[in-house]
Every structure is written in structure tokens, then in C-alpha cells.
Symmetry: C2
Subunit: 498 residues, 2 copies
């Protein structure tokens, strides 16, 4: 059937959608949810779109295409297309197999991931895949296939270096901004570490949110190569690149249901690492009662999965499990975390010792893994690089190459609305609830409001007097400050024992 | 936040969707997939819509609403709304529980079904519910709660009758149009049988598709009451009514993945029966190698589920398992099945004996169940009603009350393109593949093309000579006739043994 394109100015955010007039759909014997092959008669481009139904607007002889479908077909209004219904896709059959509890082969997983990447699966079909994988589970082998398929269907950045190292923290701990420390020390030692980071989805700040207070993190591919060639490292937001694009689409489907299976997490992290051609990866799994991973048993299972998949896809991965008894560092929120980072490099009296120590420890591990330091001497080497100022110099070298914004902790601008939260009794701080601190910082406006967040004055184990300031709360408007204060009054993150 | 409505001329077919400008979304701290409460400032209407993202078109200060959202909010362009993000809905939490393998309570299932009915769940969330129920299963108790919730969230038709009877066949057998026979006999015996039927989704014809060749099947509620009051029965398409609307939405999500769990099937059928206030229901489960239900074991499990749920929701249900060794009747496709029906009432020499016999048998069962006939005498009574002409009179009385179109089998118009399929050898017809016959009839154009389909000349067990006509193939255009012929040549539905 030959139809004329009508571009529709809406986006599904994902799937390719076409709309037919009811009469044309009947003639084609095509129904809602079925797939339609659309071929541009002049430009010879081909796409497969899902048929939806519109209650009005499409005339006989026309085919409506949403933004994604128009774009992929290079469509212009009025252009003629040949259309025909297509049989159920292979990918859909394999998704059904997963729902039915079957193991999927490498080829079957490739077909599904290609369908996701090319938008040939509808969001309903993708949801079935996510739900099926979540409930039925993915074996180690399946998870490895998924990881490989995800990075192979995206761009892979290759650097002029024999060895590329990388680190990743699975998150769930407020503060904990170790990336700038590790990248600076490791690059200063002469290693190549092209670090991509994410923005926050559910936390008060992602590394990209915090670092862009200090320098530009949105770089094009050419600029990434330039920065890494010049400095040995980079600290960029990975979201603007097309690294493992299927992964981003899967995450988008998981989000509404707060689904986070270990298998999807491992595939997601390791696919991104392979996308920047990493050879050696250090994974940090923080474990704590109020963190993402709550028990050592879970932590060990996740570590084992990271190791097993890494082995199968040719990555040298070391996993370390760290304690997460509360926030790490003092600042929570983009600007406050940026200030902590700068203070560490400045050797400032208020630099958070715990964060600095953890960053050095992770760097030491990476130096040992990459053969820059002998076993047992990595920590010392990392410490020297930090204390000598080499790490600071490397940090600013990278920041300048990416586009420096501020060069001193004193120039970080915080939210102009501020309040102090005080101790309601004297005693010792026995616990700072990581989850409540993070949520309060989000209510205050982080990460969208860069200057919003929390600054911890009293740390765990410290003795405090009644009415002493426990932490400062920052916001960029009065309403959010009040809401966050109200939340804290009802959900006190500090436990003080007499 | 106060925003101005912009109506968007597209329909999701289901969910309420709103679009915000990126800046407004950031200010609201709302993300794609999250829920937004929208309140008309003047008209005080309230809806909850899912936030989607648009790549262009929505200006700051505006909120785009899709067709469904605009309709429910009674929105006009430029009208002001107060909007705020809402917390994750209870229904979503319970869906997550089902994914995690938990049993759901009555209240939890009610919340989910309300969310489906009111379009407060996105299609992604609904897919998670369908996938979770499919993989984790629903217990007998959960299936009963689901059934009740589905009919209680829709309209329930009440008739002036002490006893309402009904029948349902789970389908999967070509031909097999027993409804007009059963309704006519049972209503002629003085019982009330307001029968709703569906249109075909995957078969060559639903009862509604076939009967509308003879009479109008799309009745408004008032007309249904009038017809049933006058005649004791009706044969209508249920799809135009709002009976158990959540069920239709669930079916729409199941369709792309061809999911049909027994639990969803039972809930769907029995909810529709409760929606017309049925007291007594007869369920026909055809079992055969090429039918929907392939083994007696499966048939028995399904029967048990029908009985168990019926008991819990207060329905007197009898289930019978029938043999389905091939198509029942001779015609497959709307017009051809309508002709079989008329021929049975006309006592025509070509009336299909197997279909007539099965219709009488089912009627007899219902007469016994409703106390019109003593145990063991129902079949005889049904036969007498048929042979005396009372069933024919009742059939035309109902047809006239609904809007008669044709009154004789000779007036049924078939597809003008026709071909004969002949035996390639002599022997005995040992099998007619139900699935292949049905698929070939669909390729020929059924059910959209009313006159398309297949008419069986040789039946199972009959002796045929080489080149004798096995069946006739009808279509409304040459192309479809050729495609169906090609399909049959590659997938011969007749097995002939020498």
C-alpha cells in the first residue's frame, strides 16, 4: 500500500510509532500494536514502526509518523512510502521465551538488544523483557551476552594507550565523591583513565552534577580524545554520548517500578566500561544498613557477578567491598561536594579526611592492578602523589582542558538560604542515616539546584553538646528550605547516644 | 505551579499523558515516567497523568495533554491548571510486590484494577502487572479478587428476571458458532439469556462478526433491556459497552506478546458474565491437538479454575470439555458462518449436522441447570424446541428486535472471488487442521472482509476421490485469494489417508 507521510510533532521518547486511518488499517488487515514496514519510495530508507491508533487527524492515504520514526526515515511531509505489515519479530519471540523461563542464547540476546537499540521494540515489549529478566533471572552466561550486546550496539571509544583503567562505585552513599581523587592520582601516575560519570537519578548528586560546578563535563567525542591525549584522564558526563544506548533505554523502563536487579546493574556498568575500551576496572561496592547494598552477603553475591561477567567479556576487574556506615565526606549536593573535592586538593583545614583516605586507597589499588606499584605499596604511592601536589596539578590540568569554571573552594557558591540543625541533647553521634540525609538534600533542591544540600559539621563518633550545630542545610529558595527542615524535624538523621 | 493547557491531537489509546517544557519539569523536579496531579483552576476537575518528554513544541508555562487527559479534565486550550508531582501510587507498589512473588490481598488487587480502570497506571506499569501475574501466577483467591474487581469497576446490567443464564466457549475452534442455537433454544424455553459476544482478535470470526451479517449487534443499554424484556434473549457485541473495562485494557497489553494465562482468561470470562448479572453459566472448553487447549490435562486444570473462581464469586458454573478434532460446522468466516446458522434454523439439506448437534447438547445442559428440564432430559427438550420451529421463531424474533438485515441463507452474500481446493489423491479424510484452516481464512480477508473464508465440502471420515473438491475458498479481492491459495498450497490443512 502506498501512503503519503504526515509528520506528527510528538515524541514517544523511544519507540517508532505510525498512525493509519481506520480504513487503511482495515485494508492492510493491520491492528494496533502490530508492526508496519515503511519504505521511502525515493530515499530507499526502511524502518519498522508500531501501529497505534489515533482518534482523528489522519486522512485516508496518509501515514502519521512520530518524531523518532520521521527522523530515522528521513521523512518529509508528503513523501510517498510503501507500507506492509510484518510478521511478529524474532526479538518478541525470544522475550516470550524469557517470560516462560527459558535460557536465551547469545544470538537471541543479540536480536533483543538490536531491537532495543534500533527502537524496533515497543515500550510494552521492552517492559516484558525487563520484567521477564527480573523475575526469571539472567544466568551468568546470559548476563555476559547482554553486556557484550549492549556495548557492541553502541559507539566504542578507542584511546591511544596500551592500557586503559577505570573505576566505578555502585552508589547509594551520600557524599562519597571519590572519582576526582582517583582520576587525578592515577592519571598523574601516567595511566590512562577516561572516566565517564552519570547525573543523579535518585541521589542528591551524581559525579557529573558535582564536577560541572568546577568545570565543563559535556564534551563531544573529539574533545574527549583531545583531553585524554593531553592529560591522560577525563571526567565527563557519559549521557550525551551513544555508549551502550540499549542500557539507557532499559534503565528508563526500570525506573518507574524501581527495579534494580544485580544482573542488569552489572551488565549496565560493565557495558559502559567496555564502551571506553577499559582493560582494568576497579569496582567499589559500599555495604551498609542504610546504603543500596545492605548486607555483606548481598555485597559478596554482587561482587561475584561482577567478577564472573568480567572474566567472560575480557575485562580485568577487581571488586572491593567498603563499609558505608553513613555519608562519606562532609558535603551532600553538587556545590557542597565540589567544595569538598577542591578542599582536598587545596589541603584545606576543612578537607574531609575520610573521603581523602578512601580516594587514596582506591587509587592505590588501581596503581597495583595496573602494575605501576608493587603489591602492598599502591596506597603509599597514591598518598605521595596526593601530598606532593601532583594530584592537584593533574586535577586542574584536566579541568582546564575540559573548561575550568572555578579554581578555588572559596569560589563555590552555595544556596543563599541556610539553616542550622542543632543537637537536641548532649552525647555521642552514634549514627548518621545516609538515606535520610540524601532524601533531605533532595527536598532542599539537589541536584537540580546546584547550591542546595547538606553540610555535616558533626561526624560519627564525635561528642556533641545540646544545641551544638550538627549540620547546615542549604537551599536556593525559602519554600524548599522550609520543606526540607520540616522533613528533618520528622525524620532526624542523627542518632545521639548519651 | 500554574500552567496553561495546550491540547495535543494524539491519543495514547489508553494512558493519560502530559508533556512539560524541560525548564518547567526541572523546576517541578519531575522526571519522565513520574505522575503529575493536574487540577483545573476553574472547573475543579482533577486528573493524574504520566509525564512524558517532548523534543519540542511545548513552551515554558504550558502543559501539553494528550487526547485522553484532555477529555477527562474537560480541558480547553489556554485554560489554567495547578500542577504538582505526586508520590508513587499504591497500585505501583503492589505491582512491584507481584513481581517479587508476593500474594496480593483483595484491597491491593482492587487498587490495581481501579488504577487500570481510571487510566492512572501507565502502559509500562500495566505491562509489569500482566508480566508479574503471568510469571508468578495468580492464586485461586487472587483470581477471584481480580474477577470481582474487574466487574465492579464497570457497568453491571440488571435484568427483570429471577434467573439469568449464559454460556461461553473459550474458542480456538474454527466454525463452532453455537451461540445463536443456544440462545434461541434457551430463550424459547422461557429463560433469560442476555448474551454478549466479542469480535475476533486472532480468529477468522467472532460471534459478533458473524451475527452482524444477519442483524445489528451494536446496541445501546436501553435497547438491550428492551430486546431482552421482549424476547428473553439477545446476541450483542459486548465491546461497545463498559462491562469490566479493566479487562479490555489488560487484553490489549497481553496481545502483542500473545500472553494468555488461564487465570487472566477465567477472570476475563467470569467478570463479563457477572457484568450481565448471570446466575448460571455453562462453559465449553474444546480440547484438541490443533485447538487452543491441546490436552485433556490442561482442559481439566482450566475447568477446575472456572469452578473454583465461580464458587468464590457466587456464580453457578458448569464446565464441559468437548472434543475438537477439527472445525465444527462447514463455514469459516463471518458470512459463511452466518449461512450455516440460517441453514440450521431453515432445516436446510446443507445444514451442518455436527454444529446443530453440539448446539442442542449445550442447550440441553443449560435447560437442566436452570431447572427447566429434569436431569437427563435436557437434550430431548432442546431437540424438540429446535425441530418444532420454536427455536427458529425465537431466533428471528430476537434478530428483528435488534434490527434484521437478511432473513434467509440464500441472501447471504459471499466473497465474489472464489477458488476450489481439490484432493491430490484418493482416500479418507483423516484430519482437518483447525489451525491452518483458520489462518488461511484470515489471509483470505476474514473477519474484516465479511464474505471471505472457507467452506468445507468434505468432512472428517469421508471418502474422497483424487481431484474431488475438498473446500471452497472465498475472498473479496483477487490478491488475497491468491495469497490464501499460496498459503494453503504450502500448508495443506487436509490429511488424506489411503
Amino acid at each position: 500500500m502506498k501512503l503519503k507521510v504526515k509528520k506528527m510533532d510528538w515524541s514517544s521518547g523511544n519507540s517508532l510509532i505510525c498512525i493509519l486511518n481506520t480504513e487503511d488499517a482495515a485494508r492492510l488487515n493491520a491492528h494496533r500494536g502490530e508492526r508496519i514496514l515503511i519504505r521511502g519510495i525515493k530515499n530507499h530508507k526502511k524502518i519498522t514502526a508500531t501501529l497505534d491508533e489515533s482518534l482523528y487527524e489522519i486522512k485516508e492515504g496518509e501515514i502519521g509518523l512520530n518524531y523518532e520514526a520521521s527522523k530515522l526515515l528521513d521523512a518529509i511531509d508528503g513523501m510517498y512510502c510503501e507500507i506492509e505489515p510484518v510478521a511478529i519479530s524474532e526479538a518478541v519471540r525470544y522475550i516470550k521465551d524469557k517470560l516462560d523461563g527459558k535460557r536465551l542464547s547469545k544470538d537471541q540476546i543479540n536480536k533483543i538488544v538490536e531491537g532495543i537499540t534500533n527502537n524496533n521494540l515497543s515500550s510494552i515489549e521492552l517492559t516484558y523483557f525487563v520484567a521477564g529478566s527480573y523475575i526469571r533471572g539472567l544466568s551468568l552466561q546470559e548476563t555476559s551476552y547482554l553486556t557484550e550486546a549492549m556495548y557492541k550496539t553502541g559507539d566504542v571509544l578507542k584511546f591511544d594507550s596500551e592500557l586503559v583503567v577505570d573505576k566505578h562505585c555502585i552508589g547509594g552513599v551520600a557524599g562519597n565523591r571519590t572519582t576526582p581523587i582517583v582520576v587525578s592520582i592515577v592519571a598523574a601516575a601516567g595511566l590512562t583513565i577516561p572516566k565517564t560519570s552519570s547525573r543523579s537519578i535518585t541521589s542528591p548528586a551524581g559525579t557529573a552534577d558535582a564536577m560541572e560546578v568546577i568545570f565543563n563535563v559535556e564534551l563531544k567525542e573529539d574533545d574527549i580524545f583531545r583531553v585524554v591525549k593531553k592529560t591522560g584522564g577525563c571526567m565527563i558526563w557519559g549521557g550525551a554520548l551513544s555508549l551502550a544506548p540499549a542500557d539507557d533505554k532499559i534503565i528508563r523502563i526500570e525506573h518507574p517500578m524501581a527495579i534494580d536487579s544485580f544482573e542488569q546493574m552489572v551488565a549496565s556498568v560493565l557495558a559502559k566500561k567496555k564502551s571506553v575500551s577499559s582493560d582494568i576496572v576497579l569496582i567499589d561496592i559500599p555495604v551498609g544498613r542504610y546504603a543500596k547494598i545492605k548486607s555483606m552477603k548481598e555485597g559478596l553475591r554482587l561482587a561475584e557477578l561482577f567478577r564472573g561477567v568480567s572474566k567472560r567479556i575480557g575485562l580485568r576487574t577487581e571488586v572491593i567491598i567498603t563499609k558505608a556506615n553513613g555519608p562519606i565526606g562532609r558535603g551532600i549536593g553538587p556545590a557542597l561536594e565540589a567544595r569538598d573535592t577542591l578542599r582536598i586538593f587545596e589541603n584545606h583545614p576543612l578537607a574531609p579526611a575520610d573521603l581523602k583516605k578512601k580516594g587514596i586507597m582506591l587509587s592505590g589499588k588501581l596503581l597495583e592492578l595496573a602494575g605501576k606499584a608493587n603489591k602492598g605499596t599502591g596506597n603509599k604511592m597514591a598518598e605521595e602523589i596526593m601530598n606532593s601536589g601532583m594530584a592537584r596539578d593533574k586535577f586542574f590540568e584536566i579541568a582546564r582542558a575540559q573548561g575550568l569554571r572555578i579554581d578555588s573552594s572559596s569560589k563555590v557558591s552555595l544556596g543563599q538560604y541556610k539553616t542550622f540543625i542543632r543537637a537536641n541533647k548532649s552525647g555521642v553521634v552514634s549514627l548518621i542515616r545516609n538515606d535520610l540525609i540524601a532524601y533531605a538534600a533532595r527536598i532542599a533542591g539537589a541536584p537540580k539546584d546546584k547550591g542546595a544540600g547538606i553540610y555535616l559539621k558533626a561526624l560519627r563518633g564525635e561528642k556533641v553538646e545540646k544545641n551544638q550545630i550538627l549540620f547546615e542545610l542549604y537551599a536556593e529558595n525559602m519554600k524548599k528550605l522550609n520543606e526540607a527542615t520540616k522533613y528533618i524535624n520528622q525524620n532526624n538523621p542523627y542518632l545521639i547516644k548519651q
